[in-house]
Symmetry: C2
Subunit: 328 residues, 2 copies
């Protein structure tokens, strides 16, 4: 393995970095393009809007916390009335780079994911008709929806559309690794680069590729040996009903992975070291030594990009007729 | 009453507005002075820090939401494990203008309030030693506490001190009424001004005065007639043990009152109209007519100042040894 690393480092040294980067299986995250700004600003408010939940307690941000990697950093999310959520929370950061949403890919789009989580009794637990009924009575939203949508309609469709537009902006470009991909050879250390070489050579990039370093395919968890878990989820098979989809999950994004602990769909993996070793073993049949693990982890930490930062949104006050939350 | 309003309006028209304003019982909110900026920036992070709660769910901002008036807009807050809180959440906005904290004034300072709510089993439910144990294992905080505090100590005292420093910045200056106080005669309408005259003349400003329009004294709730409520709190008497303090509460701030619904310690009052009428009746023995109520409400809405807005804080990642949250 060491010889391999040295060999690859030499290749890097002699290759033109820009030519080289184009041949990499991982692409830089791009800044968001063609954003409807007014819609995104409305979506930002709705993302923080706790009146989207019947209890008045939950907003999108409560589980997909933009101050810390777009997740809740819990094994399982806390839902309406302190219910224990079913599955570890995936990050909202760069979620527009996923080819489908949720661990089992059951939502095709960001809009669909937003609609579904608002209604899910284990999450925000809010009937879609109530979402519209609440927002229609808030004068600030009535005017803002008119600004954004031609017909000014406040429906679950327009709400989800605005939230999705905002979520498209939640990409994290300019990570050290992306700067390296874009030609700055000093953006990551040789040690970190050696971790990337291992990552690529052993086959991690077969699935963790593209701009999201994942999110492009469904794959079976447990190729070389079964992944041991007490978690009941069977992944895709619950959607397709096909035995072949048993334990098949969407490959998660590895962008900002150092922030989005704990790991795996069962949230049972606490550290990046454990995640790397487990994936090596069950997916690739490889037992990394401590040095290799440390190098791969060092590489993974170069995938942390510039986090979203914007002025805190101020939300419009309820109207006299706005239905009041009922948390208890 | 109408004659009185006309009379007072004439006084206003003939008085020099700047001289006049100086004699008002309400003073403008001032921008924060002498802030330790590094400490306040640390405090801002801690204000949003959900790892201050054992569950990993609660931050200060979860009940004192800076996107909506510094409150949760619920009758009673939701606490650890979805417990129903005891009393309506007071706003954090301008809370530095209170002479003491909580409805019953049991905390003398912002620091004391922060310490108490972090530990309260019905709120964040986190032993103080755990707060320090968690933060000490987060590398980003270890360095930041060294920047801010000479000894770099991470203790509940330094945590509360930083949060309080941030909270001192959460004032809301430049409301229309303050602009009027500062000499801009066109900052509020004649209609709004007439509401202020009623507010002042009937005696509201006996208690609701100063820069916070309240927060300067304890007063008995129910002077002219008892305030009807099923709420068990007896206010100050629970602190002092004195019968005379029965139903005595801190006079709440009226700054941003249009945002901080529902009202009163029992959160039973849903609208500003109801709040004005109830206070007139039980505190002053006055029955406002609809026109008077509407004018006072119009005045109260001129107390909404510029809301806090700052770039969303990005929080440092947990370390390998950081105790994990235990919400369930």
């Amino acid at each position: 393995m060491k010889r391999l690393i040295v060999c690859l480092l030499l290749v890097v040294l002699f290759a033109s970095s820009s030519t080289f980067a184009k041949e990499e299986p991982i692409f830089p995250v791009r800044a968001p393009k063609l954003i409807d700004l007014a819609k995104s600003e409305l979506g930002k408010k709705l993302y923080y809007e706790r009146r989207l939940s019947q209890s008045g307690h939950f907003s999108c941000n409560l589980c997909h916390n933009l101050s810390l990697g777009g997740v809740d950093n819990l094994q399982f999310p806390i839902g309406d009335k302190w219910q224990k959520g079913r599955i570890n929370t995936p990050t909202v950061l760069n979620s527009s780079l996923n080819f489908s949403q949720y661990w089992d890919g059951r939502a095709a789009t960001l809009e669909e994911q937003a609609r579904s989580s608002i209604e899910n009794p284990a999450s925000m637990a809010t009937p879609h008709v109530l979402v519209a009924d609440v927002l229609k009575t808030i004068p600030g939203y009535v005017t803002e929806f008119k600004q954004v949508f031609d017909d000014g309609a406040i429906t679950i469709a327009s709400v989800a559309s605005a939230i999705a537009e905002f979520e498209k902006t939640l990409v994290t470009p300019n990570s050290p690794f992306d700067m390296w991909l874009l030609g700055n050879k000093n953006a990551i250390s040789e040690y970190e680069l050696s971790g990337y070489k291992i990552f690529k050579n052993v086959g991690c990039t077969n699935c963790h590729n593209g701009p999201g370093v994942g999110g492009q395919s469904f794959q079976k968890l447990g190729v070389f040996e079964p992944y041991k878990t007490t978690h009941p989820s069977r992944g895709r098979s619950a959607i397709t009903g096909e035995l072949i989809d048993d334990n098949v999950f969407k490959v998660p994004l590895l962008r900002n992975i150092e922030l989005t602990y704990p790991y795996f769909h069962d949230g049972a993996i606490k550290t990046l070291e454990e995640a790397v070793n487990t994936m090596g073993r069950v997916q690739l049949g490889i037992q990394f030594n401590d040095d290799e693990t440390a190098r791969v982890v060092a590489f993974l930490k170069t995938l942390t990009g510039v986090q979203p930062s914007f002025p805190l949104p101020t939300l419009p006050a309820s109207g006299v007729d706005t239905p009041r939350p009922s948390p208890f």
